[in-house]
Amino acid sequence: MSTLKPGEVSMGTTIMAVEFDGGVVLGADSRTTTGAYIANRVTDKLTKVHDRIYCCRSGSAADTQAIADIVKYHLDMYTAQHGEAPTVKVAASLFQEICYQNKGGLMAGIIIAGYDERDGASVYDIPLGGSLHREPFSVGGSGSSYIYGYCDKVFRPDMTKEECVEFVKNTVSLAMTRDGSSGGVVRLAVIDKDGVERMFVPGNQLPVQYLG
């Protein structure tokens, strides 16, 4: 299993994705670091790989950008050849193939989420080793350690879209408070059959919580 090479840009990160009936909500912080310096304080870690399929990236910035670009290419090719959009499962499988077969040289923790006609809303998690897990919700990145308890307590499978958005906003915000490698702003994406809605919460408008 690899670690970050010296000087490599890392997305310390808090990322998450949640399913609701009819769609998914993705959320992430916006901090990219090289050592102790914040190279980009407004990063967009929610990357589009297809019209209704996004991925959340954590780990090495270079590795995850390269992987996402390759998967995006393959999904475009799939659409051209099949005449229809790929399912989220197809996208997740492509990510898995790359992450697993190159596990020695990559440092990438990716969450794929989206909506398709066949399976509806789906969230897939691919941790460092390259295994694939379908889950109703998933958290990832260095900040995720601090929010497992909160998520396990608060998550319900029958939440509405608005409740999911609040859930993601609160969770990412809590992680950003405790994890030094996460911070900046909270970026969200809501994907359903009608398309993608991008949302943005600036650092000074994060949900109120105990700050010591």
């Binding site: 090479k5 000087g7 490599e8 840009v9 990219t32 090289t34 310096y37 190279a39 980009n40 407004v42 990063t43 090495s60 910035a61 270079a62 950008q65 390269a66 040289g105």
Partner: protein, 269 residues
């Protein structure tokens, strides 16, 4: 079972000498170090386009190898690229992508786009897994407007309205974070870039000498080489030339006898 024969590949980097170099280092031999650019490079987007800036010091360890090197490289008429890190890597990588872009432009029949240059650069650097020490700021104005990207040696990129790279990047970024505004005027933008580079020049030991600026707007590019020269050498207070005759020199006996006999050399111009 047939024995496996060693196949030497001609592609990619060869790391054969790493073990040898390590052995030599342990024995006390000092390895030659690559010339780095130390460097402060910056870029920002203003109302009409992009301004790039760079210092001009190239270092080899603690020595200044070049006091006035050019760190803003040509990629296309409307795309320029600042380079920090290993000087040879930035020079050759930008040259290579510049020629690829020229061919791409001819093949497609269109003017080059900044994202194209960025993608070519990032894919090249990622393929070499960080061994090519080039940290780049690529900016330009193409059909889809002004663009500014930074690219790290491992191949990751950011798209931002203002960026700084190199050893002086923290000094320059402090300038940008306090004074950058959206839709700045051309004069304010160039002034801010100059001040950011000067922050690097005066506060970072790896950066120094002069400020180079490049302004890219719709349909027009201005390369302002040595836009500011805040480190001009002052006129020396005394004259240090030696008078003719200061140095005695030795002449062999035979030549001395010949010189006495011969006439004096005609040294009139």
């Amino acid at each position: 079972m047939t024995p496996h024969t060693e196949q030497t590949s001609t592609a990619g980097f060869k790391f054969d000498n790493v073990k040898r170099n390590q052995l030599l280092c342990d024995k006390g031999y000092k390895l030659a170090s690559a010339t780095k650019t130390g460097t402060t490079i910056v870029g920002l987007i203003f109302k009409d386009g992009v301004v790039l800036g760079a210092d001009t010091r190239a270092t080899n360890g603690p020595i200044v190898a070049d006091k006035n090197c050019e760190k803003i490289h040509y990629i296309a008429p409307n795309i320029y690229c600042c380079g920090a890190g290993t000087a040879a890597d930035t020079e050759f990588t930008t040259n290579m992508i510049s020629s690829q872009i020229a061919l791409h432009s001819l093949t497609t029949g269109r003017d080059a786009r900044v994202v194209t240059a960025m993608t070519m650069l990032k894919q090249h650097l990622f393929r070499h897994q960080g061994h090519i020490g080039a940290a780049l700021i690529v900016g330009g104005y193409d059909v889809s407007g002004p663009h500014l990207f930074n690219i790290y040696p491992h191949g990751s990129t950011d798209s931002l309205p203002y960026v700084t790279m190199g050893s002086g990047s923290l000094a320059a970024m402090s300038m940008f974070e306090s004074r950058w505004r959206s839709q700045m005027s051309r004069e304010d933008a160039i002034e801010l870039v100059k001040d950011a580079i000067e922050a690097g020049i005066f506060n970072d030991l790896g950066s120094g000498s002069n400020v180079d600026v490049c302004v890219l707007t719709k349909g027009n590019t201005e390369v302002l080489r040595n836009y500011a020269r805040p480190n001009e050498r002052a006129v020396k207070e005394q004259v240090y030339t030696f008078n003719r005759g200061t140095t005695e020199f030795y002449v062999p006996r035979a030549a001395a006898q010949a010189a006495e006999a011969a006439t004096a050399m005609d040294t009139s111009a």
